[in-house]
């Protein structure tokens, strides 16, 4: 066990954890932020995607010790009032069904748009294929990523 101070969404969380504990469980069970979801534990589904210094990572496959000194952003850090352009786009296209995978989808899409403000369909394919949605909202996610790009270009 070791003590860490996690910087999540610009807040500090003092936790005690096994250094090998995946960041996912530290975020969910120790910091108490449950918007980040467990899906497979082996980086196959993308449900646990968060940003580490702005880069999307699968939090199920990163030990908490490796993330302790970095800036972590989770779905809760996007905006509390759905004002972030990606959340806005997700509302405009009415994307979610059950919603369970959507935190991961949104975090992946947000990182893509930061790097590539005008992604093509091909770019979106490459960025999003690691995120599974069993409800099958893919068609709407694609539209929403384009919509978010538009909103961002206007603001």
């Amino acid at each position: 066990m070791a003590a860490y101070t996690l910087q999540i969404n610009d807040k500090q969380y003092k936790i005690e954890a096994d250094p090998k504990m995946p960041l996912l469980w530290a975020i969910r069970d120790l910091a108490g932020l449950t918007g980040t979801k467990y899906g497979c534990g082996i980086a196959q589904c993308g449900a646990c995607t968060v940003h580490l210094n702005g880069t999307p990572v699968r939090s199920c496959s990163i030990p908490v010790s490796a993330a302790a000194t970095q800036k972590i952003t989770t779905i809760e850090g996007l905006s509390e009032d759905n004002s972030h352009p990606v959340q806005q786009a997700w509302i405009a296209e009415q994307v979610p069904q059950c919603g369970y995978c959507q935190s991961g989808q949104i975090m992946t899409a947000t990182a893509l748009l930061k790097k590539n403000p005008k992604p093509t369909d091909k770019d979106i394919d490459v960025a999003m294929q690691g995120n599974i949605c069993r409800c099958g909202t893919y068609v709407r996610i694609r539209k929403a990523v384009h919509t978010a790009a538009e909103i961002m270009s206007k603001s």
Binding site: M1, A17, D18, M21, P22, W25, R28, D29, L30, G32, L33, T34, G35, T36, K37, Y38, G39, C40, G41, I42, Q44, C45, A47, T74, I75, E76, L78, S79, D81, N82, Q87, W90, I91, Q94, P96, Q97, C98, G99, Y100, C101, Q102, S103, I106, I124, D125, V126, M128, Q129, N131, I132, C133, R134, C135, G136, T137, Y138, V139, R140, I141, R142
Partner: protein, 745 residues
Amino acid sequence: MKTNINRRNFIKIGSAAGGGLMLAFLLPEAGCNSNSNSAAAAACDPLQPSAYLKIESTGDITICFARQEMGQGVNTSLPMIVAEELDADWNKVKTEIMSFDAKIERADKPAFGGYFTTGGSQSVITDWNEMRRVGAAAKAMLVKAAADKWKIPESQCSTANGAVTNKNNNASLSYGELVCDAIKLPVPKDVKLKDPKDFTLVGKALPKKNLKTILTGNAKYGIDVKVPGMVYAVVERCPVLGGRVKSVDDSACKQVNGFVKTIQFEGTSAPMNLHAGVAVIASNVWSAMKARNVLKVVWDEGNKNHESTDELFAKFESRSKQKPANEIYTKGDAAKANNPVGNMLESAYAAPFLAHGTMEPVNMVASVKKDSCEVWGGSQWPEFPVPEIAKELGIDAKNIKINLAYIGGGFGRRLFYDYILEAVKIAKQHEAPVKVIWDRVDDIRNDAYRPANYHRMKASWSNDGKMLTWQHHVLSTSVNVMLEGPETKNPAEILGGASSDFWYDVPNVHTAYSHVDFNLNRGWVRAVEICMNVFPIESFIDEVALKMKKDPLQFRLDLLSTMPKRTDQGLNQDPKRVAAVLELAAEKIGYSSPRQANHYIGLATHAFAFCPSYAAHAIEIEMVGPKKFRIIKVIAAVDCGIVVNPDGMKNQIEGGLAFALSQALKGEITVKNSRVEQDSFFNYNPLRFNEMPDIEVHYIQSNETPGGIGEVGLPTVAPALCNALAAAGSRPYRLPIKKDGFEWV
């Protein structure tokens, strides 16, 4: 201001039994009675003519629903129905799920399960009438209150946007302003419902009411439940159903920080299969997982530990040629059907076991005390486990409390309560509440799988091209045998399986079923046995058409045009609607227009028996190599009667395509030595983002009673795709098609 706070908890009952209207009512302290923010500011008690509705004098309207939300949109569609008849201002309507301790009493009977049960695409169907009457009853009371105030007859009042207007002088009172008078009125015994042509909300694409909590990460699923003092458990389960624990060595677990103890429990069989297991309890889930890795368990696997799916399909094949065990449906001359004359075709189709693979692996929190039990998590059928929990714990069923959460994908998985019973069996042996987390491997290896299935199809026709006989022998590992035990009188799946899944006018039809035993837990997966049967039926009808050198579209339409409506076996199945969706799909994909080189179109249509809804798919593919194809376009055409929320409907059909394509292309659970071989998303890999084709959803404007929509978008996907491949020269006979070497790009 408030006269009697207790009245809040006493909800009026419409009328006594024996005719007339009886609205759903609740026992006190239950259901749609959480205090709204403005309750304190209210001038009087709210108007609550039913369990499903509450109108405050402040104007706040809460519409409640009892069906579980798992992505199918009930939190929007069901309240829309109440709001429609109420003429409420939709923007001001709050929707809220009822807690399960709400004891709903209704005059009607649920289709299956209870009023909280969510499956079989039944939510809108079963709640349609009740929700309408609730809205209409409340509106009638508000109108009466306004009319009395204005001293005019009710006929001189109109309603819109949450207000009553005096037609004589355009004076207007909001519903909130009328509540204090309306609560003094009796709930009407009979109400007038709107003519569907006057609907203003139903039929409109409205945004989902629950999106905003999902998009901020604040929606609470079962996996997010926290109960004070709870510990975490992961479970090592016997890999073979029916096995037991022989010995446990947890000495290495004790070295793991946070480890608490191990708990053994036994498995169960009918009505619910549960694997025996050893739970590893720890203070956090990661410690539990780590300790499980060093846990040593020796199992007594029992004697059914050598079965394999390869053997099962070999058994299916040989059994399919013998006399079927159960007759399901016979029309015309069965003997003639069994010995067809003239031209004939015989084919066999097969599909594998399938896991639900919900994004949220199953989980449950349970707390067991001396005389009571409480559980927290998602369930599609919360009524179902109650008797068995009571029996397991030796407690009164009324001391069992089930707290429901959002479901991160249901698809039928959470109709089965193995995971609830398991959590209870573990919590029974621990003093604190226990949260049982299944990892992905547990989830895929211990599912309630769609039965593997096999179909022997035979058809014959006369020399002048008239269909004579149609025979369908369905073989599967029955869900009913699992639920009811081997002595069940009805081994075939719901509604007699293939008996209702046939809509073509053939004079001699014979459908039969044989169960083949297999030691694996089974269950219903989205679109259930209709998916199983429509694949062979819609493939084989196409195959017969091609063999007869007829156009598959016209061939189907001809056979549908003379088919009478089916009302046997409780069906309400209209071949004209089966034909109409097929024609719509064919038209929208440009079936009759010239096609590019190497492009092929496949069609399939069906009636989803117990909804009743209808859907057809048309799929255009481009062959880019021998057995290698690209999906160019998918058209879905749907007739589900009145569409409550067209955007929600489209969502379900789009999602249905993704689910069904996963199955058609690559989904497969295989078993060796009675163990499931797949264990994660890399070997049970659902459709990925880049594999999702474009889909257009079209629907038929209809005033028929609403049918279900959650499942009807699946069954015709695989046969439409296979029919396109057949048109290109090579027909797949088994799913997933990758087994026969088909590749897609």
